[in-house]
Structures are given as structure tokens and as C-alpha cells.
């Protein structure tokens, strides 16, 4: 195992100190999966700040009934851009960025299979994001460009037709998301090729870290559903600019067709957004519990099961669209079914913690927060699968509460945990633990204040996507509490940003393997050299570094 020795000295390779422009140029032309990964996460976090500002403005508008802080159109644009940004420009790039950074390191490869394609995908994402946001500027500069899209991130037909969506706002949405979608697809192709053909000797499929399993399932899902969205967008583009009638009910088009196509993409998309977070948790929980993951084969099976079942649940977004009772029952059944593998995962994480010696460093704090919030979000998801209950809850604030528990309490807590866990890997320095704990608790409290009351206002009959609401329906208090939680979340994120900047400038080197971890990415130096490993490592078990650290009791006997 001499191949696993560290090579810190060579890590700072070719940059030197040749001035800012030279460095910028280096980053711009790079095809290094690690730099691309960092840029993905960094630009995703920039978009996260923008989407956060949009959310803050909306919560300010909703702080009281009949508020006139924002005009209705402004509000509608804000929630459209907030949703679109969070899904396509925050969730996808940040998670794919982590995949980009970690997958080659975890499987002992020197880079992704197609480094140039990798860079191409990243710049497509950036260009798509900028194109979408250009709609903010385009409206003032060009007559008829429209302002930003305002038909919701789901863009239901026929609200997107020329009749109801004038100007070019909707076209910006179509093209921006289509372009960044191509970026996601290239990354997915790359991940599949990398994972299937670049694994180091000994790294069988059933020895891959669970995060790598999650990423391959995510890549397969992207390849299965992203083209469907793109196709639907092309059809919509035809409708809008070439007189086609795919979604135009006045000419025998079908408004429901768009819903089917969109949600065929849209529901697997939420698994694309949560599975990598499952991967982060599956890496963090064992290391900080000091125990091997409980039931690895079942975890893999559950992941693959989620992949397949998630392709058959989309119409649970359409229970109120008047489908037949048979279809409603069918999609309820498939949705119930998908909760089983998800439940298995939660139990296996608990099983991993059970009997361990849990270190509550910041990554583990976020992982525990993830578990606690995701259990809640998962259960409200089961409630929404109960079709008749959904007839009341669908499109109400209950749904808003539900998916923020899953995508913020789940995905974002996973991302925060991952940032704290792998920051030392990428920069050789540990983020400040004390500041990290402040971030965790403040953000957790703010999150709960904001999103828990939404379940109640939803059950009290408050629909979502309304720019204002009537007084005296019992919604005021819950909306007020929701808004009060926002400054706390902002504070938590500001502390995190400060923490990152401070550590980058003043942090002390923390060694190659600060968490005493077991997977291959910690076998090289932190940060790794451009070529990752001087010699391609040989994998001996699911935990190669455990074997190295405990030669008396290696893992391979237990597989």
C-alpha cells in the first residue's frame, strides 16, 4: 500500500504566483475535475445567495395580509426565479460539483473520463444561468423582452403561451434552462463513463463508496429525464415562436401533456437533488460514528430501487388534475412504494450510529440535522401521497413546507455538512468549528421558524404562490413566524460565508486526513495534486484506509 503515501509537497504545482490575471486564466481554461468541482460549488453558492434574496423579499411581502410591499407581478417573478434558480442553478451544480470533485478521487482515478467535456458542461451551466438572469436586464433594454419569467418554475401550459405570457420572458426561461440542462447531461455522461471505466484496481462496484453509487444513480436519472424536459421545452418553443399547438388547448393541443412531460422530469429531479445528499450522509455518518456503514448491500439496493421507482411516480403531482380514480390509485401506490427504500436508508444510518462513538464535529451536526428534518419531510411526503388528503393539501402552503423540509432540511443540510467535511480535502484547512456550530444552530432555528408554520397555514387553507392573502383567516400569525425565521437563516449563511473566507485567508494547514476517514479521497494529499494520485491506488475493500490503519483486522473479510 505504498501507493497511498501523501505528497503534499507537489500539491501546489503549476500556479505559482504569476499574478491575478494568470490565475484567472488558469481557472478559466482548466479541465481539472477538482477545479471544475470547486467552481461548480462556488458559483452554485453565488446563485444560492441570489435565490435567498428573492425568498427574503417574498417573505417580507407575506409578513402581513394585504401588504403592498411588492406588486403582484414582481412577486410572481420572484417565486418563479427563486424556484428555477434553486433547482437548476443551485441544487444541480452544487451537487454535481461535489460529484465532480469527489468521484474520481473516491474511485482512485486521475480525472473524469472526458475532462474537456467536463469543462464544457460547466461553462454551459454558467451560460444558461446568465442567459436566464439576462432577462432582468433585457426587459429594460429591448422593448418586448418582457421582464423575468413569471409563470412559475413548473411553467404550466397554457400560461406560457404567447397569449398569456407576452414578451420574451418565458423564452429566456426555456433557453436558459435548456442550455444548463445540456450541461447537466454532459456531466451525467461523464460520471457514468468515469464510474464504469476508470475505477482503480480492486474497486469493484460493490466496493464503491456509497456517494459514488448515489452519483451514478443520479447520472442515470439525469440521462433518463433531462432530455424529456428539453424535448418539452423545444415543443413549447415551437408553440411560442412557430405556431405549433402542442400545449394549446384552443387548437386541440393539451395543457395536461405539459404537466405529464414536466413532472416526468420533475419528480425524478427531486431525487436527483436528494440522492447526492444521501451520499454525503452515507460518508459522514460512518466516519463520525467510527463505525462501518450498516448494511451496505441493502443501501445500494435501496438506491437503485429509488432510481427505478422514481420514474413511475410523476402523476402524484397531478392528483388534482382530474385523472381517473384508477390512475390516482396507481400513482399513490408507486409513491407509497418509494417511501420504503427511503425508509431503509434512514434506518441504516441510525443502525450505523447505534453502538458507535459519535463525534459531533460540524459535519456530523449537519448530518444529524439532516436525519431529523428529513424524517419529518419524508413523512409529510407520505401524507401527500394519500390522494384524498392531497386534494386538500396540494398547492397549499403545506406542500411548500414539505418540500423545503426535504430540499433545505435534507439537501442543503447535506451540502453544508459536505462543505465542512470536504473543505479540508479541497483546501488543506479546516473550517472553524466554533463558527460552524453557530451556523448550524442559528440556521436550524431559523429554518424551523420559517418552514414549520407553513404546514399549519396550509392546513388552514392557504394556497401557495399568492402574493397576498385575506386577513382574518387565521393565517397571519403563521406567516409572521415564517418571516421572523428568515433573518436567522441569513445570519447563519453569513457566518458560513465569513467562516469560509476567513479560513481561506488565515486557516492553518490541518494535514491530509483530518477526520481519520476511510475512503480513497483521503489517501492522497490535501489538497490533492493535479493528477490526484502519484500512483494509482489499489483498493482492498470498501474502506481501503481502514485496512491500512487496522492491518490486524481488515475489512475485506467481512464483505
Amino acid at each position: 500500500m505504498s501507493t497511498l503515501t501523501s505528497h503534499t509537497a507537489q500539491a501546489n504545482d503549476s500556479i505559482g504566483d504569476r499574478g491575478l490575471m494568470a490565475r484567472l486564466h488558469q481557472w478559466t481554461v482548466t479541465v481539472d475535475h477538482k477545479r471544475l468541482g470547486i467552481m461548480y460549488v462556488g458559483s452554485g453558492l453565488l446563485f444560492f445567495v441570489i435565490a435567498g434574496i428573492q425568498a427574503t423579499l417574498m417573505r417580507l411581502q407575506l409578513i402581513a395580509p394585504v401588504n403592498d410591499f411588492l406588486t403582484p407581478d414582481t412577486f410572481n417573478r420572484l417565486f418563479t426565479m427563486h424556484g428555477t434558480t434553486m433547482v437548476f442553478l443551485v441544487g444541480m451544480p452544487v451537487l454535481l460539483g461535489f460529484g465532480n470533485y469527489l468521484v474520481p478521487l473516491m474511485i482512485g482515478a486521475r480525472d473524469m473520463a472526458f475532462p474537456r467535456l467536463n469543462a464544457f458542461g460547466f461553462w454551459l451551466f454558467i451560460f444558461g444561468g446568465l442567459l436566464l438572469y439576462y432577462s432582468y436586464i433585457g426587459s429594460a433594454g429591448l422593448y418586448g423582452a418582457g421582464s423575468t419569467p413569471d409563470a412559475g418554475w413548473f411553467m404550466y401550459a397554457p400560461l406560457t403561451s404567447r397569449t398569456f405570457s407576452r414578451g420574451n420572458a418565458t423564452d429566456y426561461w426555456i433557453l436558459g434552462i435548456m442550455v444548463s440542462g445540456f450541461g447537466s447531461m454532459t456531466t451525467a455522461v461523464n460520471l457514468v463513463a468515469t464510474i464504469f471505466s476508470m475505477r482503480c484496481p480492486g474497486m469493484t462496484l460493490m466496493r464503491m463508496p456509497l456517494l459514488v453509487w448515489m452519483m451514478i444513480v443520479v447520472a442515470v436519472l439525469i440521462l433518463a429525464v433531462m432530455p424529456v424536459l428539453t424535448a418539452a421545452q423545444v415543443m413549447l418553443l415551437f408553440d411560442r415562436s412557430m405556431g405549433a399547438h402542442f400545449f394549446d388547448p384552443q387548437h386541440d393541443g393539451s395543457a395536461l401533456l405539459w404537466q405529464h412531460l414536466f413532472w416526468f422530469f420533475g419528480h425524478p429531479e427531486v431525487y436527483i437533488l436528494i440522492l447526492p445528499a444521501f451520499g454525503f450522509i452515507s460518508e459522514i455518518v460512518p466516519v463520525f460514528s467510527r463505525k462501518v456503514i450498516f448494511g451496505y448491500p441493502l443501501m445500494v439496493a435501496a438506491t437503485v430501487a429509488i432510481c427505478f421507482i422514481s420514474l413511475g411516480v410523476w402523476a402524484h403531482h397531478m392528483f388534482v388534475a382530474g385523472l381517473s380514480p384508477f390512475l390516482n390509485a396507481l400513482f399513490a401506490a408507486s409513491t407509497f412504494l418509494i417511501s420504503v427504500p427511503t425508509g431503509i436508508k434512514i434506518f441504516n444510518w441510525l443502525g450505523t450510529m447505534w453502538g458507535g462513538r459519535i463525534r459531533f464535529d460540524v459535519p456530523m451536526l449537519f448530518a444529524t440535522g439532516f436525519l431529523s428534518l428529513f424524517i419529518f419531510g419524508g413523512l409529510t411526503g407520505i401524507m401527500l401521497a394519500v390522494v384524498p388528503f392531497d386534494w386538500q393539501l396540494s398547492d397549499s402552503y403545506f406542500v411548500v413546507g414539505h418540500f423545503h423540509y426535504v430540499l433545505i432540511g435534507g439537501t442543503l443540510f447535506g451540502i453544508f455538512g459536505a462543505i465542512f467535511y470536504w473543505f479540508p480535502k479541497a483546501f488543506g484547512k479546516k473550517l472553524d468549528e466554533r463558527l460552524g456550530k453557530w451556523t448550524f444552530w442559528i440556521f436550524l432555528i431559523g429554518f424551523t421558524l420559517t418552514f414549520f408554520p407553513m404546514h399549519i397555514s396550509g392546513m388552514l387553507g392557504m394556497p401557495r404562490r399568492i402574493y397576498t392573502y385575506q386577513p382574518d383567516r387565521g393565517w397571519e400569525l403563521w406567516n409572521l413566524i415564517s418571516t421572523i425565521g428568515v433573518p436567522l437563516q441569513i445570519l447563519g449563511v453569513l457566518i458560513l460565508v465569513w467562516n469560509i473566507l476567513r479560513t481561506l485567508v488565515r486557516g492553518k494547514p490541518c494535514g491530509d486526513d483530518p477526520w481519520d476517514a476511510w475512503t480513497l479521497e483521503w489517501a492522497t494529499s490535501s489538497p490533492p495534486p493535479e493528477w490526484n494520485f502519484h500512483e494509482i491506488p489499489v483498493c482492498t475493500s470498501r474502506r481501503p484506509l481502514w485496512d491500512l490503519k487496522h492491518p490486524d483486522d481488515p475489512d475485506e473479510h467481512y464483505e
Binding site: N76, A255, A329, L373, I382, M383, A385, Q392, S394, I466
Partner: protein, 429 residues
Amino acid sequence: MLLGALLVLLGALPVVLPGAQAADAAAPGASRVTTSSVDSTPAARAVSDPARKPLPVICAPGLAPNPDAGDARGVRGPRDLRDMRDMRDMRDMRDNTTSPGMLDRPPSSGAGVTAIFGADSPPSESIRQLAWLVLGICAGIFMIVEGLLIVAVIRFRRRRQAAQAAQEHEPTQLYGSNPIELAWTIVPLLIVFVLGLVTIRTIREVQLTEPPEGSLRVQVIGHQWWWEYRFPDELGDGREVVTANELVVPVGRPVWLELESADVVHSWWVPRLAGKTDCIPARTNVTWFQARRAGLYLGQCAEYCGTQHANMLLRVTAVPPDDFRAWLEHQATPAVVDAGVDEGQRLFAALACLNCHAIDGVSAGMFGPNLSHLASRETIGSGIVPLTRANLRAWIADPQKLKIGCNMPSLKLDDRQLDLLTDYLMTLR
């Protein structure tokens, strides 16, 4: 998370539980309303009936102290024209929550008026029953799993002294256990199987494909941003009643709704009567309800439909069957136009109003709400403000002030024209 659980127990339940509304029932609906300055103008007084009777309880029917008592008249809606005029007096009884730039609001009915657990009709009652079961099961699972997590966190966290001692030793590595993993695969499977069965049973109970026996057929057409209601065959003599935004139905009789849309997707949602169903263009969806008690049921559009989605409010008034019959007959007859408002009527017909609005015997526009009996309604602007002379005049003067982005333009009328039009429209009872 604990905070969240605590909130559920302490905060949420009293509000969402149906029983908890009993506390509100004691307070008469009128106690919470005050007179607003906007309508205290002489002009507004002039059109209101001087002999004002106490307002019938139009707050949520669920709040009525003794709903099943023999005489339902205390809690019902309009019976005849005279009563309707009384009902319009609500215009002076509105809550005091107003905001700058907006006129006064329609009478509201207090917390819980749109709560899904305040069910008052078979579909929503079936859903409520199922919802309690599902909530119970989920709460049970939540407490067990979250409890396990808390135990794991407390019991297995690393202690500082022990950490030193155990520096060299990792805890026992447990790679998995087939029986345990099998257990937590099969038990959830059984739970969701049960959930699936009760779900299917309730779907069959609630989602009817044929109208129930003896039901009232109503066509609901969603428009940006108002509701059109048609009673195509209820009168039985070929006359069709068309009205807007305020649906009047008989108590205790099933109402079969055929939901359509004139433009984009909307969703009809009155939580205490039924779950929501989308109104999709070029498609007819159906739903039904059966109001158990007389009174006003509130809701609003639940599918995002553009600029004023938030102000596409729903009002359903359930009245005794005889009253409903009378109301329907009245709606089918052209309104009697007072002699003094001829000029206003001519103005209506001469201006662009008639392009969009229908008034029996005057115009046949289809793009806006039917105004034949406008003055028999309680609100304007799809429920956003009470129908008073002042509000109506302000609305005609510039609808964009009350409902930014709505499809009705300001016709830039002068004061005299506004007065004439308003006076005319206020006579369309």
C-alpha cells in the same frame, strides 16, 4: 426539530382541530366588525336600507352555536329581495383590517374559516377522517424514528474522558444484520400497504364519476381572475342562469360541479366543502359537495394562474332549498330597472362596458362577469371588496387600483359618468 414537535403540540392543534372552533362559536360574527370610514359617506348611506336588521350570521357555518337546531333561518342566506337588501348591509360591517391603497374588505369569518379540518360536506368529511388516520400513523412513526435518533445521539456520543482512553480502539464494527434489515423493510411495506388500502377506499368514496342522485348541476368556468357559474338545466324550462363569483346552493343537496376554464389552469378549492380540482382548458373535470349547514363557505383559486391568482377568491353560500329556488327564479328574471337610472343604462350600452359584460336585456358580452344581478352580490372584484356604492364607483373609475393587472381597463370616465353608471348598476338587484 424538537422545537417543531413542540409547536405541533402547543400551537397548531387548537387551531386545526375542529373542536377547537367551538370557542369561537360563542362570539357573534358581528362583534369583530366595525364601520369603515370609506362607506360612512352620505352617498353610501343613501343606498342602504335605513331599517337595518341585525345581520344574519354569515360567519362560517361551522361556528354556529347549534347548527342542527330546527329553525335554520337564523343562519341562512337571502330569502327574498328584501332579505338580500339586508344582506347588502354587511357592507357596513367589515373587519377593520385595511391597508393603505385598498378599500375595506368583505366581512370575514374568523380563523379556521378555510381550514381543511373544518369539514362540512361529505367529501371533505371523508378526507378529514382519512387525514386523522394518516396523521396519527405518521406521528407515530415520527416519534419512534426521531426517538431512536435522539437515543442514539445521547447514548452513543463520544464522551471526553472516554475519548482519551479509547483513543486507540474503535467501537465494534457491525456490518449489517439480515434479520434486522429484513424487519425494517417489511414493516414499512405493511404500513404503506394499509395506507394504500385506506387511500383507495376513500378515493372510491369521494371521487365520483357520475353525479349523485338528485344533484344540482353547476358549470364552473375559471377566468383570469374570476369565476363564472352556470345553472344550465335547473329551472327546467330552458332558461339558464349565469352568475359570477358567488355561488348560491341549496343546503343538504348534492352539488355536481363541472369545472372548465376559459383561459389557463385554475383550481376550485373551498376546503370545508371539498378538496380542490383543477379547471383545465378544453377539458371538463368534475367534483361534488353537499353543504351540511347554511352559511358562507370561503376558498380561493389554488392553481397559479397569473398576476392576480391571489385575488381569485371563492364564496359559496348555502341556503335552504326554498330560498335557493327563489334566488334562482329571481336570477333568471331581468332586473327591474328603477326609473331614475335610464341615463346610466344608456351610458352602459354606449360605452365599452357591453363588450365584456352581459346584462339581461341590455348586452351580451362574455369576457367579464355577468352583471344582470350585480347588486344582489355581496362583493366585487371576485371577492376582494364588499359591494358598496363607494367601492363599486372606485372599481369602475380604475379597476387597476383595487386589483392590479386585472383585465378590466379604466375607461377614464368623468365624475358624472361614474355616478350615473354606479347608480344604474346598484339597481341591478
